[in-house]
Symmetry: C2
Subunit: 375 residues, 2 copies
């Protein structure tokens, strides 16, 4: 994989880059919408292309259980299966398996777990995770890692990080045996402890990964702590490889973390919030079901240029939500994804202008932040 | 309203026509997808336009209860509310109200009923029905009629038909006071009795309606009886006005009833069946959830040229359905609506070629009919 570092901001660590992948080129910074079960919920591939989505994330855990990675392989891989011809990234399934709590049992070998669908027994090892991801055929695949809960002591965090590093080596070895056209990313772990994070990334850099992710954040720690962990570990990441912050975050998080040197993001927030009627605007969010929108002829966000804001009123969108209509999820998802991708477009523009601090200042001085509802 | 009778088949009563309405031209025969709550379930207006949908049907009952016809009026009518710039037809709400069974009470004045949503009390009279439909602003509006259940005796059917005719007169009078750019259709009733159907249409023709519907069919009577009622009453309909068969039917019904002189149809079948995973093909239907489709790389119907059949496999569509994904409803609806509209295109072509009997013969000799599943 070729990663071009195109430009750097002067006042922050923000970077403009370009990833050359098997199914196309991805500009960075990038936000990857999540297509958990082989579909970004409620979106057709055409709608995603219209939104200028460049790369999707799909979840190996869900697709391994249903329809099964062998079925996906028989269809020619995820791209053919879901009719998406642009790049895809798959996670390893680790995060989902570790979230099963009572249904899983971890050892140095791997994770034994029960399906959340039917209770059937499964075993996920580093080698098995790679085999599953190779069957899916995504452009970028992730190592299996041990996903630490928050809070965790230094002792527990170190043990977990060491296991993740051993697994990263096993994933890498297994992957190199037949790498194909895929790229493998390693995942930095170590909880909130700088020495562990530093040790982890040094171990990973010594292996032959195409890019590096930061895992184990946005799992309940305070937001300033998350930013601090990234700020401390980022200088140890090689400049010539992409950095991917997994599972993050709000639109403001994107701006803050790009300023800390992050290139790639994924998060279910825009799509999940859309289905729950929580819609992003530059001034905060609106909860579309509220009665005050019943007769409101205005768009979700007067400054938004998405097709939903150019076409539909808050009143109609409220009606669709209250009436439990499928079109509610469709239109809300288009708006929220547009908002995220528009944020990414603005991020790129401010980096290229070497004025990223201005964008940072703008999102920091907003009266309303991501978590606040417009009154 | 101008209705042009363009052409007539030579071997059947099939007709090609053209309706000139406030929001555009509609070719007949026509099938109207149903947008119950101000949206054709799971479809964006863009997707409907791509499918070449010419006119939608919306339900006054549902939109009167939620968001309310006054709200719709404040948004500038249904067209502006739902961002649909082509013609719309609204029913009167009568059929839904009569379906409420224990929740309604009918008198000569009108119908007292309770909302199925919150139990609130409402009264629907012929005048009130017209006011509601005028607030919505559809191109074609329907009279309030008394909807008879099947089976019903001649005595009961006559009483019900007479009430419908009185209500038709009241609707017409109220409508003529401020007709605007809308067109009012009368509804033929009389159950399965030819003398009552004939009396009803003669009464309606004496009034000033833009078109005539046949109501009270497809309510449980045997299919041959439905065809027979239409065949008997059709000669009493004026040739220069459109005929609309309400709530019908399967694709084969469309062909059979066009042969009997029907111009317009609406039915929830393509959209509702789509959401339940029942997909139409020229050889019968398939139930997409079946395990046999898990690894099936073929399209729903190899002869279908819809975007879903050109893009997705049965295996992927089964996966979406089993995984309860919204995209399942979206793609299945596109396919089923395309199938109906393609049937309409073929109907028009065979009329124009004066070879409609060939199409009739084709659908009659098919080994698999609408109700049969492909084994």
């Amino acid at each position: 994989m070729k990663f071009e570092l195109l430009d750097k901001d002067t006042g922050t660590r923000a970077r403009r880059g370009r990833l050359h992948l098997a199914h196309g080129v991805v500009e960075t910074p990038i936000f990857m919408p999540v297509g958990t079960q082989g579909t970004v919920k409620s979106m057709t591939p055409d709608q995603l292309r219209d939104l200028q989505v460049e790369i999707l994330l799909c979840n190996s855990y869900h697709l391994y259980l249903r329809p099964g990675h062998d079925t996906v392989r028989r269809f020619g891989g995820l791209h053919a299966f879901m009719a998406w011809d642009r790049p895809i990234l798959t996670d390893s399934g680790g995060f989902q398996v570790f979230s099963l709590a009572d249904l899983r049992n971890i050892s140095d070998d791997g994770v034994r777990f029960q399906s959340h669908l039917d209770g059937s027994a499964h075993f996920l090892s580093p080698e098995r995770a790679i085999e599953i991801e190779q069957a899916m055929g995504a452009d970028i695949v992730m190592c299996l890692d041990d996903c630490l809960a928050y809070p965790a002591t230094h002792f527990v965090s170190e043990k977990s990080m060491q296991r993740s590093m051993v697994w990263a080596e096993r994933c890498n070895t297994h992957f190199r045996a037949a790498p194909g056209r895929q790229e493998l990313f390693g995942i930095n772990q170590g909880g909130i402890y700088h020495d562990l994070r530093k040790h982890s990334i040094e171990r990973l850099v010594a292996m032959d990964f195409s890019g590096f992710a930061i895992g184990g954040l946005a799992v309940g720690e305070p937001k300033p702590l998350m930013y601090e962990v990234i700020e401390q570990v980022e200088p140890h990441f090689p400049a010539n490889k992409p950095r991917y912050l997994m599972g993050v975050g709000t639109p403001v998080d994107l701006v803050e973390c790009v300023a800390l040197g992050i290139d790639m993001f994924d998060c279910v927030m825009p799509t999940r919030h859309a289905r729950n009627g929580w819609l992003f605007t530059r001034d905060g969010h609106i909860v579309i079901k509220h009665a005050k929108y019943k007769d409101d002829p205005g768009p979700i966000d007067p400054r938004c240029e998405c097709p939903v804001c150019r076409t539909y009123s808050r009143g109609y969108l409220r009606h669709l939500f209250v009436a439990n209509e499928i079109l509610s999820s469709v239109l809300n998802t288009i708006h929220n994804l547009f908002f995220y991708l528009d944020t990414i477009r603005r991020i790129r523009q401010f980096i290229e202008a070497h004025r990223f601090n201005e964008l940072l200042a703008e999102v920091r001085r907003q009266e309303f932040r991501d978590g606040d509802e417009i009154s």
